[in-house]
Symmetry: C2
Subunit: 306 residues, 2 copies
């Protein structure tokens, strides 16, 4: 799947992914009103609004992008109905040929990590039958529990040719509270980065590993260091746009081959119609604003990479 | 809710919780066969087997215990159907008056952490209506992203009188890979423990904070240190039984008032019928084996605490 991701990035010449994080406040009123009219102001109504919003965004952008990154929390908060919308979104993205990075940030130990891995990336056995319950292509994983938490994911990745992105340095202001602490003179995120490189050797694709890393766009200097520590690791970069990262901050997350990183933007794309730059399109044309924002982001990053 | 947990621990004189982690391999054949007969060897069949198994365990133990800790991964792996069984289990536990610790180990940042918190501990707004999608009483939270990840949970806990348990030192063999690394001569788990105590001050119950910690039974000496660093913190202790912890290992996780810790056992209770000690009861009476295991665990811990 890492080979597939690289191939799609080359084909689209666009190293970005669209963060499908549909908060209800991002969804235009006309979409919500229609959903509530059909399902009431219920969890099913919220889920329908989310699904219709996502579908429109996907239809408007899928030909330009290699991948999407749905944030499961935005669906899970609406309970079972929300998770049905998550699954529906995954299935539709697959139909459109997009690589799916499930931003689930799971992490546990042993059989519990295995269960997450089977459920999200692999298949589960029920008697003599097997099923792929969620079937994302990649999942994000939290490393705090160490190898016992990460290796069960890698085992499933090997069986299924799927991948993971392990949190190394997150984009938020307080990420340094633990991640930046010095261990033998080296920040913890470096130690985690070294582990990611080591885990990566367990499951290599053609040029990059199936084990990737998450490093926030908001820390470009750290991105530069980690790029060196993890040369074969694909870096998923959140924090572009709304969180403050810009194209030129991102140069050092990439390798000299112009590959090695995929940059996510969520609200900067899906809620672009609320940005001054695109607001003339209006909430009725939110999907056109999303498409315009994808084109501008591609241009911003590619021009910085030259 | 921390006051309620303490009250229930005193009433039952039993500082344990039953880990509802229903792997299909733990579920006796007669339960699975009945479920598959009704729903086929499908995800719905697996979910039905899980629910019937849980219900029998709950019916057989609820009068003896203060709390349960369902591990969401064991349900989520069966997709939407599995999560319906999770929700059904939560609702039934609530009906039986049990405190519910959702072992979800979520952790993200800002609005994403808020979404998990609203979905699991609080309520979400849909138009003019609001809903409690999962409504656990406590949730476990991963601290790797720092305060930005944890504080949104605490905000919701304040609104709803709910609580969290933050991972500090996990029970698995490789937990030390990052958690034991020395920062200024102090292991990282101590730093996390200090933060937990600090976060705990933000939301205190009568004697203990709504912000608890997870510390594995498999590291008794570390439990002793952390007990001192976090005197007002309730400690959720996994790793008893199957993972190797015993009653006498647990003494120092408790305060002198005999409170301050709640010990989890999962397979040691729910799959007790497979242990030599209880196997004479047979798989048909798995729930009786679970009840016997609860009584023995209570005795083991309480006798160590005297």
């Amino acid at each position: 799947m890492i080979n597939e991701l690289v191939k799609k990035i080359k084909e689209t010449n666009n190293p970005i992914c669209v963060g499908l994080d549909p908060q209800l406040t991002f969804i235009p009123d006309h979409v919500k009103e229609k959903a509530y009219k059909e399902h009431g102001e219920t969890l099913a109504g919220a889920a329908e609004a989310i699904w219709q919003f996502n579908k429109a965004i996907i239809d408007a952008t899928y030909d330009l992008i290699p991948a999407v990154k749905p944030q499961i929390a935005m669906y899970e908060q609406y309970g079972i109905e929300g998770l049905i919308a998550y699954k529906r979104t995954l299935d539709y993205c697959k139909e459109k040929g997009l690589v799916i990075i499930g931003d689930i940030k799971r992490g546990d130990i042993g059989s519990t990590s295995s269960s997450y891995a089977y459920g999200h990336l692999g298949k589960v056995q029920v008697g003599s039958k097997s099923y792929y319950p969620f079937a994302e292509d990649f999942a994000t994983v939290n490393p705090y529990l160490g190898s016992d938490g990460v290796k069960p994911f890698i085992d499933v990745c090997k069986e299924e040719n799927k991948g993971i992105f392990v949190l190394v340095k997150t984009s938020n202001p307080s990420s340094g509270e633990f991640q930046d602490q010095l261990v033998d003179g080296k920040p913890l995120y470096e130690l985690v980065g070294e582990k990611v490189a080591e885990w990566g050797d367990l499951h290599m694709g053609d040029d990059y590993s199936y084990v990737g890393a998450v490093v926030g766009a908001t820390y470009p200097e750290i991105g530069k260091e980690l790029r060196k520590i993890m040369p074969k690791t694909y870096i998923l970069v959140p924090g572009y746009g709304a969180q403050g990262g810009t194209g030129k901050d991102l140069v050092h997350f990439f390798n000299e081959d112009g590959l090695g990183a995929i940059v996510n933007s969520s609200r900067g794309i899906i809620a672009a119609y609320k940005n001054q730059q695109y607001e003339k399109l209006g909430p009725l044309n939110f999907q056109d604003a999303a498409r315009a924002a994808v084109i501008d982001m591609k241009e911003d990053i590619n021009s910085a990479l030259i």
